[in-house]
Structure formats: structure tokens, C-alpha cells
Symmetry: D2
């Protein structure tokens, strides 16, 4: 299978994970490692929060694992740029996931501020990965300003509803020249496999792993589902049909 | 993970496969083996058709693989019972998948004749696995006459449409005392994972593997998806939510 | 618009209603009349329950309105036939809606017993209208024994989930020589319109009207939706398309 | 029923229509009048195109009908503002539907340019009605700059796919302080009723009427569906349920 490449990094795994909502850091670490993810997103807040959170970050140290700071909590482009700069200093990485959501209830992203922040962050030398609505035109504009990938949502974050934006994800994937990573809404391995089957380059999963009764096993399940979906995409699925076709030969054999 | 048990057989794999629609026997054998399926269904017609088909059957000989003759092509209970008896003699197995579809276009199963055939086949000592509509009441009646599992359809056979009968499959799974195997309609690994996530005991996949550009790789993809879905079922998925919850902490950290 | 004909009756309205779950008889009568339905189903139990229920029946007396006794509460064919005969005597009608649901939780119909009951009731001179699973093969068998219409469910009764059985309803409608009436699951006027748009001959709605805050207004809404859906069916809907087409001319007019 | 109010106009009808894709102006006029719509959108191109198109506009002259020029064909905010000004002069109305779609294939709207255009048009004294992606955050920002309503799409324009953006429309409707008009994607009266049932203030329908075999009848069907859906919204629909509830009393009456 072709490897995923973003900026200067090559990934064996097409499953990205997050660090939120786990009951403790140890479980989080075990689940992230079980997922075999090579990119894990962390909120800047945590990086800044002192001792306990430093340990969380430290616990993620692993040769195969890169940290992807996100700007969760910011409300506009200015705050996002500031947060990204803080993260670069604190974590020594110029990668940043841009999340701008002024809306405290549904945490949906702000298209206009995201474009503005991305444009500036690209100029500042960041590898920019924007979390956005599944808006195909916005994706092209982000590509134009130089983001390294786009991260459209499948459903509102934390809802586990799957690919509610399917019709738009398909257009985004068809049109994009940068990797498309489905982020938010993926609540089950079947959703992750589905995203890969339609041609997404990767998925980011956090809530569905963290809130499971058994996050380590769920992380493994997602790992397999993502690989499975990608293999199916490469092997090409059959079309859906209106009229059934028998898979066994249909003949009146008994009285022939 | 708990193993699947049907009658006296225990299965490591929860993926059952079929032999129809492959472009040749060699590819079929390779794909079936790649799937790691332990139960593969064959149409009786083929068993009877002489030399070439004998070779097909021979090609499936493998210590881990059992044959499951099906009655595809019969139109009523009487024909089904006769076909099952022929298969028992020809293949030396008392397992039979009952498929009765008088409808030559959509190949949908006949509830009334299926119940009649199953009742008689159980009395004749068969291990009976009926392919049926996703009808919860029929499933209970089949269970009452002694079938070893039920095989409700997810969508019309050969359509690749997935779990169109979801609402009814959930009721069947909730109520059943015998294994529930989703058969027909599963057109992608994500569908198979989904079926396992809702608690199906196994899935049967044929068309989606056979018509892929790369059946061997697709067979592996299905194998992984089925395992993934079962693992997720065991690890328990989170609920879908109306209101989003952030997976990263949402705080106005910058100006605190 | 073509009128609906069942047995010897011709209907101006393609909306059938029920009498259950209303908070009182007066409201029920008002809602049924507001719906302009010409066929309203009543449970036999009510007919038998004496005074109060007699008044309910009496309250439905109206020149445009026919009663359709149903066998709700019976568990097998024998009980259904007996119930139908009681209803014929009590209400002076040979029309009967056959409902056989041994399952007390989901109230799903029993295919095998329904076919048996219908066969006998047709012989006994009834106009037989069976409530069934959306099973296309069963529909053809019922047609073969002489039922006057088929009444497949859209979703489990009382769930308001709409046309969950869409793929199967479309096959039933394509194949049927008797009217197809979607019964159960219709929870909103949009569901009723949808059923008509795909070519259903009528719908039966009860819960969605009865449990509304304003049953009389909801009855009118359903009346309009059913007419709207039928008009759209007659006027032919456009196809769904993958690629958008502008409804306004797309030209670079400003700088031409 | 409460009337819809936008800026200084009050509407009896919650169905807005368009003028594209009809086979001729006479049929267009008849269909628009049959719909009883009071607001009909016209592309500026047509207004400018001279004689034939002038007749088209003239043919829409009707005391109950207002014209809503749209900016279809423009690619950015600057072009949109210019087009709106031309329309104001040509048609003598300060109402404008802002449509900015740089993408010639799917005709999806540009969030960033739309916000920019709307902000300026509001300042220029227009009644601004923006056609947008179903992006709840963008809707709030548009509201903040003073648009008179928001017009999120249900599905890509011209696809007839219905409310593919349901989850996001529900959030928009919940949060909006200006009327929400679902525009694009509505391909059947059932879709229109559905949009109204979830609380949309109006719908705009063009393709589905224009491409029907009988546009006049289809227009009437949409009119009824919109009224039906609004009535249902006012009368309050029941909730969807997991467990069925019988609408007829379920009792073992025969042997009591």
C-alpha cells in the first residue's frame, strides 16, 4: 500500500489519534500505542498546565509517535496564531492542527477565521492542518494558501454519528490535491473503514477510543478497520446495484 | 474473544464466504483462503455439474475449511429438502444452507416455504442454516423448529447496499437464542464491521469479494473488518450524542 | 387523479386512519373527520367492550366513513379467523384488517400465520387486508390467495421512524397487482408524502396523528401530504443526480 | 399559522421558487403561479439579456409576486456586489440573493467571499439573502453582519437528494435569529415537508418543479407539502421511539 505523506513525514499508519477524554494518562498511552498511530494531537492547554500535563506529554514520548499540537479553545485567527507559536516553542514542532470554534456548544469550526489563520501560519513556516466543516470550496481555498492537508468533519465532534457529510466528503476527496483526513464524528471502526473506502487519506479518532469500556482493544479495532478500509479502496469495491444478482447460480437443476 | 459455535463446530473466524462469481477456481481458492474463513457455501448445482465443478470442490479441500452446501435454485420446501439430501450424499455433510427463492429477479427468500423446509430438515438430522428476510417473528419461529442459526439479509442479494434492514437486525439480535449471521447485501468491509458492531455473530460475504478487482486483497480486508467489528462490540462503543462534546479541553486558556 | 379501488369500494382519499391512542373519543372523531379519511380501523376489543366503546363506534358514524375492524391482539391464524367473524357480526362488515403479532414487545406480524388466516378468510368471503412485514415474496403469496391489498410496514409500529423498509417497499410496489398500503412507522407528513411519491396506493396513519399536541391539525397536515405525494407521483419526479446542475444559468456575464 | 416576515415583507406562502430550467416562459409562469409562491428568484443574466428575457420578467408581473434577483455566475465578493447593484437598477428592488460559486462543477458556495459580499451589501442598503453551505458558524456570522435570512443548502444544487445536511440544518435552526430557508437539494414534496417539520422557515424549490413532466401539478404538490410540513411543525410531531407501541389495544380478548 502507498504510504501517506504529509510535508516531510511519511506515515505507515493512516489512523491519527487524540489524547482527550481518557480516564488517565497511563490508559491513554496504552491506547495510543495499541492504535499504532504515528501522529497524536494534544491540546495546547495541556502543554501549558504544568506538572501533571507535562507528564502526559512525556508519557507519549516514543520514537514512532509525533505530537500534533492543536489550538482547541481559541475563538479567532489571532488567538490561533498565538497558540500555534506557543506550541512551537513548548513542544519543538512546527506542526499545528488549527481548530477555531467560537461556538461553545457544538464546537463547530469557523470557516473564515480558519482560512485567515492558515494563511498566516503557512507564512510563518508551520505545517498547517486545519479542522473544518466538510465544505469543498473552503478546502480548495485552504489548499491555495498552502495547508498541508484538510481535515473535514464527518459529523459534529463527539457525536459518534459517522459520515453524515458523506456527499460533501466525496466531492472534497475528488477535488483535493492535498491529503484529506476525516476528523470528528467517527464513532465506530465501521465509520473509519467507510471513510477509507471512499478514498480519505486518513482519519483522526479520539472520543470513540477514549470513552470505550476497553480503550486499548478499541484502539486495535480502529487500527484494523483503517487498514481494512484502505485495502478495500485499493482493491476496488463493486458498485451498488438496484437489481439483485445471485452469487450462486440460479437454475432449476432438480428437474432438468 | 469468545468463539462462535454452531452445532458441534467451533469457529475462529466469524467471516463465512461463498464461491459464486469468481472469474476462475484458482482465484476463488486463493481468496477463500486469504479470508481465513472456515465455512464456505457452495451451490448444489455445482456439485452435480461434473468434472469441472468437482475440481472446484476439490480445490477447496483444506483442513480448516468446511463446505456448506446451499439449496440455491429451489422454489419450494419440497425441492429444498430434496436438494439437501442430494448434497448430503454428494458432499458427506449434514450441514445445509436453506435458500428458497421463487422470485427470479430479486432472489428474495420465501418465508413460508423456508419454515416448512427447515422443520423437516431438522427432523431429518440436518444442521439447518436458513437464509431469510430480516423478519424477527420468522426468526423466532425458525428457532422454535430447531434451526442452528438464522441468516437474515442486510439488503437484496448482490446489491452491495449494506445494512438496509438495520432496525430489524437489531431486534433479531436482541431476541435470538441462536447465532445471527447477516447474509446478503454486505458490499464493503465497513458493512461487515458494522454488522459485527451491532452484535451479529457472523457475516457471509460473497459478491463483494468475488467482483473486486483484487479478490484476494478484498478477502483480507473483510477478514480484518470482521475482527475489528467484533473487537469493538466486545469493547463497547460509545453512544451517539446529539450535542457535541469536545475531545480536547475547551478553555479560554490564552487570557486566563 | 385516479381513484383508489379496493374490492367494491372507491376511495377519494388515500389516507386511512386508526382510532387508537387518542385522549378521548371526541378528539378522535374530530381528527378522523379532519383527515377526510374514508376508512378507519378499529380494534375488535373495543367493539366488544360494551357501552363506552359502543359510543366510540357510534361517534364514527358518518356517510363517508367506513369501519375496518382489525384483529389486533390475536396470536395465530385461528384466533384471527375467529376475531374476523366476531367483527363481521358486530359491525356488519365483511372487511377485515388481519394483524397477527405473537410478539408483545415490537408487535411485528407473523408471516406464516398471516398467510394461513388470509387464505381462510378469503374463502369465508371477507375482504382481506393483511398487515405484514415488507417482504416482497410474502406479498406475492398473499396476492395469490386472494387478498384485496397488502399492508407492509414502513418501520416497527409506533416508532415514527418512517420508511426504513424503503428498498423492499419499492420492490413490493413494482411487483404488486393489488393496492399497496404502507402501514406502521409513518411518523410525519413527510413520510406519508414519501410513501406516495414512490408509488404506494395509500398509507395508514394512527399514532402520529393521535399523539400530536394538536391531532386535528396534524390530521389535516397528513391529508395534504398524502395528496401532495400522490400528485408528485403522477407528475413524475426528477432523478437524483450525482453532479449538480445549476437552476440559474451559469455565465461569466459581467465581463463578457 | 404565523406568517413569515423578511425585512418589511410578510409572506403567506413559505415556498419560494425559481425560474431556471423550464422549457418555456409560459410554463414557467403557470408553474410559479400554481405554486402560490410570493417570491421568485431570477438570474441577473436574464435581466440583462435583452428582449426575450425582458418578456420573461414581464411575464412574472403579478401583484402577489416579488422578484428576487440572484447573483448566480459570480465568482467573488466584488462581482457579487456589482451584480447586486446592476439588479437593483434593472429591477427596482433592493432585495438580492447572494450566490457566489467559483466551482463550475458542483456550484457550491464560497463561505469567505459570501460573508464579505453580504457585509458590504448590507451597508449598501440591500435586503441580503445568502445561499450558503449548511455551516452553523457561518450562519451566525452572517446574522452578525445583518443579513435578513440564511439560505443553507440541503444537498448540492440540482441533485434532488433532499436533506443530506440534516444534522447541521437542525443546529442552524436551533441557533438562528433570522429566518432559515432551505435552498438547493430539495427534490420532492416530501423533502420540502421534512424541512418544514424540522422548523425551517421556508424552502426554495426550482429544479424539482421545472424538470417534472408536469411542472404545474408539481408546483401545486410542493405548495401543499410546504403547508403540510408547517402545520405538522406547529402541531408538534411525536418522538421517534425504539420500542414499538401498539396503536390498537393489545389484549388477549378472545379468551378473557
Amino acid at each position: 500500500m502507498e504510504k501517506l505523506k504529509i510535508a516531510d513525514k511519511t506515515f505507515d499508519s493512516r489512523l491519527f489519534t487524540g489524547t482527550g477524554k481518557f480516564s488517565n494518562s497511563k490508559l491513554m498511552r496504552e491506547a495510543v500505542l495499541a492504535s499504532e498511530s504515528e501522529l497524536v494531537t494534544v491540546a495546547l492547554k495541556r502543554v501549558e498546565a504544568g506538572n501533571e500535563e507535562d507528564q502526559m506529554i512525556a508519557s507519549l514520548a516514543h520514537e514512532k509517535l509525533s505530537l500534533l499540537p492543536n489550538t482547541s479553545g481559541v475563538r479567532d485567527a489571532k488567538e490561533a496564531v498565538f497558540a500555534a507559536q506557543m506550541a512551537r516553542e513548548a513542544l519543538g514542532t512546527n506542526w499545528v492542527k488549527v481548530e477555531i470554534h467560537p461556538d461553545p456548544k457544538y464546537l463547530l469550526p469557523d470557516a473564515v477565521e480558519t482560512l485567515k489563520a492558515c494563511e498566516e501560519l503557512v507564512k510563518l513556516g508551520f505545517v498547517v492542518m486545519p479542522y473544518i466543516h466538510a465544505d469543498p470550496v473552503l478546502c480548495k481555498r485552504l489548499e491555495d494558501v498552502g495547508v498541508q492537508c484538510v481535515m473535514p468533519l464527518g459529523a459534529p465532534i463527539g457525536t459518534n454519528k459517522g459520515l453524515k457529510t458523506l456527499d460533501f466528503l466525496e466531492i472534497i476527496i475528488e477535488q483535493s490535491n492535498v491529503p484529506v483526513i476525516v476528523d470528528a464524528g467517527i464513532g465506530a471502526p465501521s465509520h473509519a473503514a467507510w471513510a477509507m473506502e471512499i478514498g480519505a487519506d486518513a482519519v483522526l479518532v479520539n472520543t470513540a477510543i477514549a470513552v470505550s469500556k476497553n480503550p486499548v482493544q478499541m484502539a486495535k479495532a480502529f487500527k484494523m478497520a483503517v487498514e481494512s478500509g484502505r485495502m478495500a479502496y485499493d482493491a476496488k469495491l463493486g458498485k451498488t446495484a438496484k437489481i439483485a444478482e445471485a452469487s450462486s447460480p440460479l437454475t432449476q437443476f432438480l428437474y432438468e
